[in-house]
């Protein structure tokens, strides 16, 4: 894959998509009979509601992107990824509510916290690999999940009811400044996507891909693979923590569920739906995941989960490598997918 991702046509396509996404709330407002000014004024209506739903999609997309970097690009199976997100979400809530910090300081401290937890995972990374790494990270995340539910810290974390009553600075308040926050989340998603594209094309990113393909060979070529895996974890941790930050700003209540195994599995589902290791698939997968969940729940009520299960099984059989991955295969390129086949063979 020597072709640069920043070719003219690609950039134009992305720019067009960005503009369409910015114009979307206005279009919905017009369609709904509101004036476009209502979007800027955050008036109640379906435009505001759809923006809220899309903000959730963007947050999940950033989170899924970070998981795709760990699993899809570097080939590390981690079951503790939800902790990265939850640390961001909880830290933001505690900084705003209990410490009364501003956005800038909070974000700086957030990066520090993200680095620390990535280093914690790095300690594990140096010792175990494969499915054992997945289980140890699951263990670390479970311990974190239990700690935030413990009654001892309920003044900070709110124990098992979740963190409530976070007062968000006015200029990014999602109730009064919905459109502004929508654009911020949208730009963040695009920014992280471009950053990740650039990272995968950079020499460091190429080594990460090499580790995914064959770690022994990368070692034999003289790369200290541990540092490259750690870099991927660091970047993913900071990204996921930022997604957690956006989550807390957007949602008034942070539930302890964001640290559970279920939330890691959600990230796994998103990138599997979109296509493992494709990056754009992570964003698409997050959109499909959240919108399916929401609309199935709305149309079918309690039996939505059953249909969701059926859809997942159907996807596995009819889109064998995710939406983007299968599209690449049935198109003419086989990138990012051959490793799955290789992996299947080498594991048997």
């Amino acid at each position: 894959m020597t072709k640069s991702t920043f070719s003219l046509s690609n950039s134009l396509g992305l720019l067009a998509l960005l503009l369409i996404m910015i114009a979307l709330p206005f279009a919905i407002a017009l369609f709904d009979g509101q004036s476009p000014a209502a979007v800027l004024g955050s008036e109640t209506g379906s435009a505001k509601f759809i923006q809220g739903l899309l903000i959730e999609v963007f947050i999940l997309a950033i989170y899924a992107l970070s998981y795709d970097l760990v699993l899809g690009v570097t080939g590390l199976l981690s079951f503790g990824h939800a902790m990265f997100f939850a640390v961001g979400a909880y830290w933001t809530g505690i900084a705003f509510k209990s410490l009364g910090w501003g956005v800038g300081v909070t974000l700086l401290a957030l990066v520090a916290a993200a680095v620390v937890q990535a280093l914690l995972f790095g300690v594990v990374l140096a010792r175990v690999k494969g499915i054992t790494f997945a289980l140890v990270t699951l263990g670390l995340a479970s311990v974190f999940h239990i700690i935030i539910q413990a009654t001892e810290f309920s003044t900070y974390t709110g124990a098992d009811v979740g963190l409530q009553g976070v007062v968000v600075p006015e200029w990014i308040d999602t109730v009064d400044q919905r459109f502004r926050f929508y654009v911020i989340a949208l730009l963040a998603t695009f920014g992280f996507y471009l950053l990740y594209r650039r990272f995968v094309d950079s020499p460091t990113g190429r080594v990460c891909v090499a580790i995914r393909e064959n770690e022994e060979r990368a070692l034999a070529l003289g790369y200290n693979t541990f540092y490259f895996k750690l870099i991927a974890l660091l970047l993913a941790s900071i990204t996921a923590a930022f997604a957690g930050f956006l989550h807390t700003v957007h949602q008034p209540i942070v539930s302890p569920n964001v640290a559970s195994l279920g939330f890691t599995v959600a990230a796994l589902l998103m990138i599997l739906i979109g296509g493992v290791g494709t990056l754009s698939g992570a964003i698409l997968g997050a959109a499909v995941f959240r919108l399916l969940e929401y609309y199935l729940e709305r149309w079918f009520g309690p039996s939505a989960s059953f249909l969701l299960g059926l859809i997942y099984i159907g996807l596995v059989f009819f889109l064998p490598y995710g939406i983007i991955g299968t599209w690449h295969i049935s198109g003419f390129r086989l990138k990012g997918v051959t490793w799955l086949l290789e992996r299947g063979r080498s594991q048997n």
């Binding site: 594990v124 010792r127 175990v128 690999k129 499915i131 054992t132 289980l135 140890v136 699951l138 263990g139 670390l140 479970s142 311990v143 239990i146 539910q149 413990a150 009654t151 001892e152 195994l261 599995v265 796994l268 589902l269 599997l272 493992v276 309690p302 039996s303 989960s305 059953f306 969701l308 299960g309 059926l310 859809i311 997942y312 099984i313 996807l315 596995v316 059989f317 064998p320 490598y321 799955l340 086949l341 992996r343 299947g344 063979r345 594991q347 048997n348």
Partner: protein
């Protein structure tokens, strides 16, 4: 030589020694009766965990499939066992349509050559389209007929008809059921026909692939299975009332053992079905197996919610474990058997026969049986070889795919047995599977992912640790520098198991019994 081996396993031995010291220290901190109770409870929880972890470990070792639906299969085992135990008449009613539809599916190999010959004469897009249409028609027919099939069943929404009420009635011996109306011959034949239509559609769909017909001549096994299913369906249809009454008037002990057998059997069939239809196409795509099994677990939970409802309910204990008359609590095992006591005295503690003795006994029997299967039979030899290198086994001319199906069925059967065994002690709820899956995963990781003795040891370790934590949560641990004894709070119970796993894996990445890389 011995010294070398000791040196090689140094870390492992030190870890085992530390665990033993911890166990002894924890034991000395409590009175003898508490200790006996805690250890037996730990073993009991450990045995249930083991039944789930054993299947997970075999499946993961042989096929590299981490079956995330295993906990839900455990749950389904519990619910199926409950149904056989509390409402056997419903099971008899259900057997007729299920067996009739299955006749068509069992005769699939017989249909395939005919369908193949017929399909080759079709032109245009018809060969691609008709299997889907026929399958939809068959499945729709089954659903439509089922809506018209008279069935005597519980209703979760009505309190007087809810599963919990029926369970209570069985416990008090006051169970009254209204038998369903008898079924007309037309409906019965309709089910048979719908089954054949469905099977024809599946046969046509299978012929769309490039695989050649697998066999020629009369498939004797398929015909036998078909005739047998037909026989069962006919008996259940014609002798519905007398069969139901016989089961309902049966001794609860006998019915409980029947329920254990039925749940295990249902698990084996379900496991075989899931492996052949869903898991098999995915051996080349390991990560997508996670998505598939996850989807399956969602479906499993929703199915259970739809059929048995959301509220938790109990499964009454069989008469053998529920005696409260003279001579109870029993003083010795002979007394226990003679009086069928619910409890017995051991080391001055009151021990519940079912929870703390029967579960452990059954767990041990299964442990030894599977151990013999693995170590002393040809199939076991193939499985052990396959865990090391399944490609090599295949190259030696052994049909590994068939062994995969057998092992998957066995693993799911064990999980289902665990479910029905656990149901009288922990009750039935929608999330019992999810909770147990996490425990089983931890046990698996502690013991070494693919090692069978490791799964057993890990499960027992996890069970003991949790029960000791619960006990010390009540009596407190006297720690130096602390005036009050430290009492672990309830959330620390699961956390302790997780922490144990993290520590053991960091010290011994391959687990306690895993092979050195």
């Amino acid at each position: 030589m011995t010294f070398d081996r000791l040196k090689k396993n140094r870390t492992r031995l030190i870890t085992l020694a530390i665990l033993t010291v911890l166990f002894v220290t924890a034991s000395r901190g409590m009175p003898a009766d508490d200790w006996a109770l805690t250890v037996l409870r730990g073993l009991s929880v450990g045995m249930i965990t083991f039944l789930v972890a054993a299947g997970l470990s075999l499946i993961f070792g042989l096929m590299d499939v981490l079956n995330l639906a295993h906990g839900e299969l455990f749950m389904i085992g519990a619910y199926v066992g409950w149904t056989v135990y509390v409402r056997p008449d419903t099971v008899v009613d259900l057997l007729t349509p299920i067996c009739l539809v299955a006749v068509g599916l069992a005769l699939l190999p017989l249909l395939e050559p005919t369908v193949d010959r017929w399909q080759k004469q079709l032109t245009g897009r018809l060969p691609q389209v008709w299997p889907w249409l026929t399958m939809t028609l068959g499945a729709g027919g089954v659903v439509w007929l089922f809506g018209r099939y008279p069935l005597s069943i519980w209703h979760p929404e009505e309190f007087s008809q809810s599963p919990g009420t029926f369970a209570l009635a069985v416990d008090q011996g006051t169970l009254q059921v209204v038998p369903a109306e008898s079924t007309g011959l037309i409906v019965v034949l309709g089910f048979l026909l719908a089954g054949f239509v469905l099977a024809a559609g599946i046969a046509g769909w299978r012929r769309l692939g490039t695989a050649p017909l697998s066999h020629s001549g009369l498939p004797r096994g398929a015909v036998m299975a078909g005739v047998l299913l037909l026989l069962v369906a006919a008996v259940c249809w014609l002798a519905n009332d007398s069969l139901s009454n016989w089961l309902l008037n049966m001794n609860t002990t006998g019915r409980f053992f029947l329920a254990m057998g039925a749940a295990t059997g249902a698990g084996v069939l379900l496991g075989g079905f899931v492996e052949t239809t869903l898991i098999r196409p995915l051996y080349d795509r390991p990560i997508y197996q996670l998505m598939l099994t996850l989807g399956l677990s969602f479906i499993g939970i929703e199915l259970v919610r739809a059929v048995w409802g959301r509220p938790e309910f109990t499964m009454p204990k069989a008469a053998l474990f529920n005696g409260r008359g003279d001579g109870c609590p029993a003083e010795s095992f002979a007394d226990l058997l003679a009086n069928q006591c619910a409890t017995m005295s051991l080391f001055g503690a009151r021990i519940r026969t079912y929870n703390e003795i029967f579960i452990i006994v059954v767990g041990l029997v299964v442990l030894i049986a599977v151990w013999i299967l693995l170590q002393r039979t040809r199939l076991g030899m193939i499985i052990r070889a396959g865990v090391q290198d399944s490609e090599m086994v295949e190259a030696l001319g052994i049909n590994v795919r068939r062994v995969f199906t057998q092992v998957f069925a066995l693993g799911v059967g064990l999980a289902a047995l665990g479910g029905v065994l656990a149901a009288p002690s922990i009750g039935l709820s929608n999330d019992m599977g999810t909770r147990l899956l996490l425990l089983a995963l931890i046990a698996l990781a502690i013991g070494g992912l693919t090692s069978f003795p490791g799964a057993a040891a890990g499960a027992i370790l996890v069970g003991l640790l949790q029960q000791f934590m619960i006990k010390y949560g009540q009596i407190g641990i006297p720690l130096p520098f602390l005036a009050e004894p430290f009492k672990p709070s309830p959330p620390l119970v699961p956390a302790s198991a997780v922490l144990l796993m993290v520590v053991i894996l960091l010290v011994l990445p391959q687990g306690l019994f895993g092979r050195n890389e």
